[in-house]
Symmetry: C2
Subunit: 332 residues, 2 copies
Amino acid sequence: MSELRQDRTTGAWVIVAPERGRRPRQRSAAAPAPDRAPEPEPPCPFCPGNEHLLPGIVEEVSAADPPGWCVRVVPNKYPALRPELAPQPLHAPFHTALEGYGVHEVVIESPRHRADLDSLSDPEISAVVGAYHRRSLMLMRKPGIEAVLLFRNNGRSAGASLRHPHAQLVALPLVPPRLRAMTDWARQRHRESGRCVTCEELDIERADGRRLVEESAHFLLLVPFAATVPFEMWLAPKRHQAGFAEAEAEELADLGVLLRRALARLKAALGDPPYNFVIESPGKGEEGAADQHWRLRIAPDTVIPGGFELGAGIPINPSKPEDDAAALRAAG
Amino acid sequence: MSELRQDRTTGAWVIVAPERGRRPRQRSAAAPAPDRAPEPEPPCPFCPGNEHLLPGIVEEVSAADPPGWCVRVVPNKYPALRPELAPQPLHAPFHTALEGYGVHEVVIESPRHRADLDSLSDPEISAVVGAYHRRSLMLMRKPGIEAVLLFRNNGRSAGASLRHPHAQLVALPLVPPRLRAMTDWARQRHRESGRCVTCEELDIERADGRRLVEESAHFLLLVPFAATVPFEMWLAPKRHQAGFAEAEAEELADLGVLLRRALARLKAALGDPPYNFVIESPGKGEEGAADQHWRLRIAPDTVIPGGFELGAGIPINPSKPEDDAAALRAAG
């Protein structure tokens, strides 16, 4: 059973999920991953024909070609949170904790084991982004859910336990502290200036140009001014929209193509680095808010954080955002 | 030149330090560390006889045996922040940034290249902890410094670029957001209950016992209720004291011995895992505060974080704190 526990001395939350310890490819305590020989690949549960290894199928997007689907959504076999648990208090009165209520799903992005997101066709990537959007909406509507996080881990050192292309969604019974802090910050800035701080930032970046990588019909692709890691990129909608749920069909199709181009640039510039991406969208109740503005954030995993980052919560980026943006523009 | 940049859309800070890109052993973008063959060791700048590779020596603790010192403090050759820079604003009016003013030092904990902290004698570990304490105090007194972070990275996947035993200190021109949030949280809890929340927590943990690992004359060693990673441990002073600077000589000697025992337990339980530790102590002006309480936090690096942690700021711990504490007690 998993639990959401709060540290009473700091207010920080953690998910304690002992079942996750049985995942393949977790960094072993006894022999850390970086020094370990590659393991043989077990049969891939995401490949067509291995459906018996899946805990179920939530939905799929059908395709004309075999195996008859291009995108599949399945429950995570090692969920961090579980829908059958109740969001009820535990460990009272001394400590604050909740049973690990929530939903953890996987979006299988292609039937092809070695497909990369940047190799998908326009209709394929559109189906992928459409599934991200649809499942985000569906999960946000579930009772007791306050926020949905969509993310993708690519490469073992970025936390991926399976190579087969996939993203994940976690629906949470609380707004995670990082999203909450972002929401509060943007609200405060809006109170001061009367403008959405992200709309303002996109205007500044478009005018400045040094950190801009590419502009599509509906999105800007840029390296943020305070990038936390080398080659961090944001895809942000040019039209003001608070949450990812508000993106419309035409914008989603545009997002898919720009995301594919962003990942292709990353590969051309850095040679297929491990990376995470995450859609940063505010929690429930912020739909249509004038002061919130979602983004998709790509964070290549090329720097090893240490005790400084752990203690300070300030990343050290050994690369200049302006230089990274120039390299990404040239890699187009 | 390094910069402290603030993200105007989130309020988060980052240190942009291009010089750090020239460090040895950074995870390479083109070929991520986990799949790379081990490199040959270059001459170690921390070993006796290689002083020409050091940028200088700040202080040393002398010893009767050759090479005549047991602990040395030196400037970091690849500093995240630099004392010769001014904490002046950059990039105005659109963005908020400061020149990367600060100090970045290294505590070389032994002249022996392969010594582990848990193999040091009582006087040796006492000299190490004494140097941590003395340098923390000295750096906090420098003009323009608001907080000092002492941390240790052990093992390549925990961010260590050199094997020779060492810790680091970074003195910052601002209180890092994580420390600021902890300070504010503890202040608010103190307002509500009239007690130091950490003193209260230590009472609860001592009475409960399930997460307690060991108690010394002056410290508790425990696995925190909301441990963020498997086998996380805190060493917290039993006597109320706001900052690490307030620890007295007898307490420091006790801390050294308990720290050595904690690391030995970790090694016995997990087989020498990579880890970080950090002293979490409030910023300038909190000396003697009734509502603050420092700790030393040890975080083994056995779990690979992914996009969920990046986006949510909520760690997923695949291990139960109570089970980890039992294993650590048994490993004594």
